[in-house]
């Protein structure tokens, strides 16, 4: 199991354990993390599972694909480290991953 920490805009955080092979979005939904909507169910077809990957983890999570970049155009307040959490696959290498949930998904 891999540990992932979600930090809310108000600073509160939740650490969950997730199975490798799932996506960070799925881990969030399974654990009822607020602020991750995933309207399209993980098809990289909306931008409502937007997260900011903590700086220390950006090398490990990598950069968004071209398709994901296109979808990020539909997200609000995109920053360095913005990713769609449905496109981050959980592996051992991500044990301890920290992501921030944006103030708004839309």
């Amino acid at each position: 199991m891999t540990k992932i920490t979600f930090i809310q805009p108000d600073g509160t955080s939740q650490t969950v354990e997730a199975e490798n092979g799932l996506t960070v979005m799925e881990a969030a939904k399974l654990n009822d993390i607020p602020g991750i909507e995933a309207e399209c169910g993980g098809a990289c077809a909306c931008a409502t599972c937007h997260v900011y990957v903590d700086e220390a983890w950006r090398d490990k999570t990598g950069k968004p694909s071209e398709m994901e970049e296109d979808m990020l155009d539909f997200a609000f307040d995109v920053r360095e480290g913005s990713r769609l959490s449905c496109q981050i696959k959980i592996t051992d290498a991500l044990d301890g991953l920290v992501v921030r949930v944006p103030a708004k998904q839309f």
Partner: protein, 354 residues
């Protein structure tokens, strides 16, 4: 409007209305398959959809994504599934009304249904099938403080008449086809036009991007890489927007903004038709998939019943049972003989294979 008022209202029908057996609201996979199931029972249908093409979510959200749980088809993309359904329902000659949204649904004095769309098309039908999925696709509203106060007056998600934009200082936000098309179309009439996009790469068709780059190079429009953070104005009239860029913040004087952030699904007018709802879904029975209103059916993702699963295959099943019940309303005096397409020569004739 409650159910009784819908029944008692007794709308009178104007002469320009299209008369048909069934109106299907939504051209997603379930709406399309409803054409098939109704067609086998000699029920003619008109199909209305807010998108400009068939397929619903399959076409809009995941045309290229694989679907693995359609029985007997190990893998199919959203677009392929749509294309195949269109081919399958061809023999029934359903008429499609795209880019229209059904606004009103009322019962007529003779017990049929009267529907109107936002384009002014009117229908009178014996049965109505709501196959509207997650609701109608509507433009996403950027979560900017107070944006709703400007909508319709100085913030627009679509432009009905180009003339209404003449002489304005326009800001267009986005990097897809809508943003680029409107940039190119409005540049000639605008007093000034600024295209704001979060990155210097565009999803839009390459030739539109090329044209836009040329306008920028010629000094006819401005391209600003950044994100809108604040709206300024009063009484619905925008006066400026603030844009966060790589170098800081920039304020752009403008009196119109067009944000293009894609589409989201909203239940929309369905909520006003007096049907019993369950958490924004239409409550139906599992024998006929009929709503609280006799003659109005709901199938696919938009309905709810105990055990409901939002699967395409469930919607197909619902369409088949709905059609049996619709037959009783459309042909009250005809006995319905259950038949298989494999062996029934009359069904095969309808399918055009005999």
């Amino acid at each position: 409007m409650d159910v009784t008022s819908l029944t008692a209202a007794g709308t009178s029908v104007t002469s320009g209305a299209i008369e048909t057996d069934a109106v299907i609201i939504g051209a997603g996979p379930c709406g399309l398959f409803a054409v098939f199931e109704l067609g086998l029972l000699d029920i003619k249908a008109h199909v209305i959809d807010i998108l400009d093409r068939p397929g619903g979510q399959c076409a809009e959200l995941y045309p290229e994504k694989p679907i693995y749980d359609v029985p007997a088809i190990p893998v199919v993309t959203g677009q392929e599934l749509t294309d195949r359904l269109m081919e399958q329902i061809k023999p029934f000659g359903a008429e499609f009304h795209f880019s229209e949204r059904v606004e009103t649904l009322t019962r007529t004095q003779d017990g049929r249904f009267h529907l109107t769309t936002d384009a002014g098309t009117e229908f009178v039908a014996k049965v109505v099938v709501v196959a509207a999925g997650g609701g109608s696709f509507t433009p996403k509203r950027p979560p900017l403080n107070g944006i709703e106060n400007y909508e319709g007056k100085s913030v627009f998600y679509s432009v009905r008449r180009i003339e209404q934009m003449r002489g304005r200082d326009i800001v267009i936000v986005g990097g897809g086809d809508s943003a680029l098309d409107w940039t190119l179309n409005l540049q000639p009439v605008a007093r000034s036009l600024t295209l704001v996009h979060r990155r210097d790469e565009f999803r839009a068709a390459p030739h539109s991007v090329e044209k836009m780059r040329k306008l920028v190079a010629d000094g006819d429009i401005r391209l600003l890489i950044g994100q809108v953070t604040t709206l300024e104005g009063a009484d619905g009239q925008l006066t400026a927007v603030e844009v966060k860029t790589a170098d800081g913040t920039e304020r752009i004087i403008c009196d119109a903004m067009l944000p293009f952030f894609g589409l989201t699904m909203k239940l929309g007018p369905v909520a006003e038709w007096g049907l019993n709802l369950h958490e924004n879904l239409i409550h139906v029975d599992t024998e006929r998939f009929e709503t609280s209103e006799k003659g109005i059916f709901a199938i696919g993702d938009i309905n709810w019943y105990p055990g409901k699963l939002k699967l395409i295959l469930s919607g197909f099943h619902e369409a088949a049972l709905m059609a049996q019940a619709a037959h009783k309303i459309v042909y009250p005096d005809k006995k319905l003989l259950f038949q298989y397409t494999t062996s029934s020569s009359s069904l095969q004739k309808k399918l055009g294979v005999k």
